[in-house]
């Protein structure tokens, strides 16, 4: 029988199809889940829409860093089975992302995003693959993070309009429940419901809906850390609403903000090094 290593590389490469779960981009995820505590004040004098927009502005304001690097870990659980992935991530601005996987099965596999183009590199075959079209909706390395979401660089306030639905207490924390709606066709989740902590202005829970109105997944922010004066979610649990007993724990370690990341890091040369 032919080397199973080759089989694994080939099937790993072609298995970029994903479940219905779609995760926000790393950057968008961060900006959806943290705010600058200083600026996280609702605008005065506005109605519900004005207050909602102000909260949205504060959430987006958390994206006020020029660059970020961190070690990301994903633990995908389905019933008793667990799959773990780990990667180093570097991002600069809204359109430059570089990932390198370090878990044993995917070690050395890299992803480069420049603008809306995504390239994958598989070192064991020295193969560079361009991801485009409908393949962008498939999972990155078989994970629950889609290429499309990695490529998204839109801020929430640019993509959504917001309204406050109600006040609600979640895990003992009084929250405002916001509904975000978008008519854009290039948005992964046209409707999002956010439970935003009144005090820290941090979303504690996010529900993501398809355009049909079906709940696709729910995100729970399990841990938040203060990093360089900003509150960032460092542990997030994502539950698939369509599949039983399926969830992913996403965590970020060694987070650094506003670091110098040269242009050379976001290039074909670095991708294939």
């Amino acid at each position: 029988m032919r080397s199973k290593r080759f089989n694994e590389v080939a099937t790993m490469k072609h298995q970029i199809s994903c479940s219905k779960i779609r995760y926000p981009t790393i950057a968008a995820f961060l900006c959806a889940a943290c705010v600058l505590s200083v600026s996280a004040q609702a605008a005065g004098g506005g109605g519900s829409a004005g207050e909602a927009q102000a909260i949205l502005d504060a959430i987006d304001a958390a994206q006020q860093y020029s660059s970020i690097s961190y070690i990301g870990k994903m633990e995908i659980t389905q019933g008793s089975r667990v799959l773990k992935k780990q990667f180093a991530a570097y991002a600069r601005g809204k359109d430059r992302v570089f990932l390198e996987f370090s878990n044993p099965e995917d070690r050395g596999v890299r992803m480069l995003r420049l603008g809306s183009s995504i390239w994958m590199y598989f070192p064991s075959e020295r193969d560079t693959v361009r991801i485009s079209g409908s393949l962008m909706r498939q999972g990155l390395m078989g994970s629950n993070l889609s290429y499309e979401e990695v490529a998204e660089g839109k801020s929430l306030k640019d993509a959504y309009s917001a309204e406050i639905l109600r006040e609600e207490t979640l895990d003992g924390q009084p929250c405002k429940v916001l509904k975000l709606s978008s008519s854009r066709t290039d948005i992964s989740y046209p409707v999002r419901i956010l439970w935003v902590d009144n005090t820290r202005k941090i979303p504690l829970k996010i529900e993501l809906y398809a355009r049909s109105g079906i709940l696709m997944k729910t995100m729970y922010i399990k841990n938040v850390e203060a990093i360089s004066g900003r509150l960032l979610p460092t542990i997030v649990e994502i539950v698939d609403a369509l599949k039983k007993n399926s969830k992913t724990m996403f965590s970020m370690d060694s987070v650094r903000l506003d670091i110098a990341l040269p242009d050379s890091m976001f290039s074909m040369e670095a991708l294939t090094k």
């Binding site: 080397s3 089975r81 064991s124 485009s132 393949l135 290039s267």
Partner: protein
């Protein structure tokens, strides 16, 4: 091998089989020992590197794949079953501008699994040893041990006149083209169709790459295989905005007993809504005649399903051959997927259809179950060959 002789306990044939199996086990054990010794030496070396040149990154991944297979490999032969174990060590060392990579495998297989490995051996392969030794046309053994260095290469990177470059020497995978199954522009002929989903093989080669912009590069490659076939070529790749990627290449191939062959090729990929069509065209000549090979394909993804469809046709003065490839993948859950690759080789009048189910997270590894059927329409009556297999694979990072 006489089945009757094999079945009789205490018979000379049975004793010979036991002796051969023991010999193979010893050979496999020696090879495994050498491989692990090399890995240990690599680890010790990395640990004692002077601080000033301490590796920026290093890693050694150990992968074990255990499984069983059964089937019918050739018409007129009995169906059989067998066991297969493969250990792969994948190492990488990066220190400054220097990168060293190595990938070695040791395998032991019996019965049908042995037959499967034996059937893909060829004289063109390099750095592969087997017990018993392979010769062209020889019968597959009941037990087989192999050691292969699939990759051993060193690369050095740098900048010259504001242009990044990389020089790579050794044995490493070479792959030109954009096709998933068919790559007409791949002048190195490294595609391996024995796997359910085609993969590329490594060759001894030298490569020079110049990175002319963020997403463009020029590369020149020269390789030689186990048959002393020389291949050399130059290729330029670039992206056109966010919607397309192109490549153009020229090549030369010298094979013993044949005229030198020259080629010119083109590769393209473009975004077209939900489709991503791609194409290749390669024109080849040996000076007296010319032929062309063209490939057209596209991918489509919707929800949990991804589809690839490729067609390849060759046009020459004598014949026109066509091949088709269809691959569907359905991710049934987060950790489970089903793939179905289908091939049609018109020149051989052969249809190959497979189903592969993969289950992640089983005993910290992955379980693969597959079934393959091959219909040989060139035979009368139509021949049918089949394979079934079950494998478990797990990777560990040892350093």
């Amino acid at each position: 091998m006489n089945p009757s002789a094999r079945c009789r306990k205490g018979s000379p044939a049975a004793a010979r089989n036991r002796a051969r199996s023991f010999t193979y086990l010893c050979a496999c054990g020696r090879a495994l020992g050498r491989t692990f010794s090399a890995a240990m030496a690599l680890g010790v070396f990395m640990a004692f590197l002077p601080h000033g040149v301490q590796a920026q990154s290093a890693g050694l991944v150990f992968t074990t794949t255990t499984g069983a297979a059964a089937g019918l490999m050739a018409t007129g032969t009995p169906r059989s079953a067998g066991f297969d174990e493969e250990i792969v060590l994948n190492g990488r060392l990066q220190t400054g501008p220097l990168r060293v990579t190595a990938l070695a495998s040791v395998s032991f297989s019996t019965g049908f699994a042995s037959l499967g490995r034996w059937s893909v051996f060829s004289s063109g392969q390099t750095l592969r040893w087997s017990w018993p030794a392979w010769t062209s046309g020889s019968t597959a053994p009941d037990t087989l041990a192999t050691v292969e260095i699939q990759e051993l290469a060193a690369a050095i990177s740098g900048t010259l006149a504001h242009t990044g470059f990389r020089i790579e020497l050794g044995k490493f995978p070479l792959k030109w083209g954009v096709g998933k199954a068919f790559r007409p522009s791949d002048i190195f002929k490294t595609m391996d169709y024995a796997s359910l989903i085609p993969t590329s093989k490594g060759l001894p080669a030298a490569r020079l790459a110049l990175f002319t912009s963020q997403l463009s590069r020029f590369e020149a490659v020269a390789s030689i295989d186990g048959n002393s076939t020389l291949t050399a070529g130059a290729r330029y790749l670039t992206a056109l905005g966010d919607t397309a990627a192109l490549a153009a290449s020229v090549g030369w191939r010298r094979q013993a007993g044949a005229a030198d062959e020259y080629s010119g090729s083109f590769e393209g990929q473009i975004d077209a809504g939900i489709f991503t069509p791609y194409t290749e065209l390669s024109v080849r000549t040996d000076g007296s005649s010319a032929y062309a090979i063209t490939m057209l394909g596209s991918s489509l993804a919707a929800g949990d399903v991804t589809l690839w469809l490729e067609g390849q046709a060759s046009f020459g003065p004598a014949t026109m051959n066509a091949r088709l490839f269809l691959l569907g993948t359905w991710k049934t859950s987060e950790l489970t997927s089903i793939s179905a690759p289908i091939f049609w080789f018109n020149d051989a009048r052969t249809l190959s259809a497979s189903a592969l189910a993969q289950f992640q997270g089983i005993l910290d590894g992955r379980v693969d179950l597959y079934a393959t059927g091959n219909w040989l329409f060139s035979a009368v009556p139509v021949g049918f060959l089949w394979k079934l297999g079950a494998y478990w694979a797990r990777s560990l990072l040892t350093y």
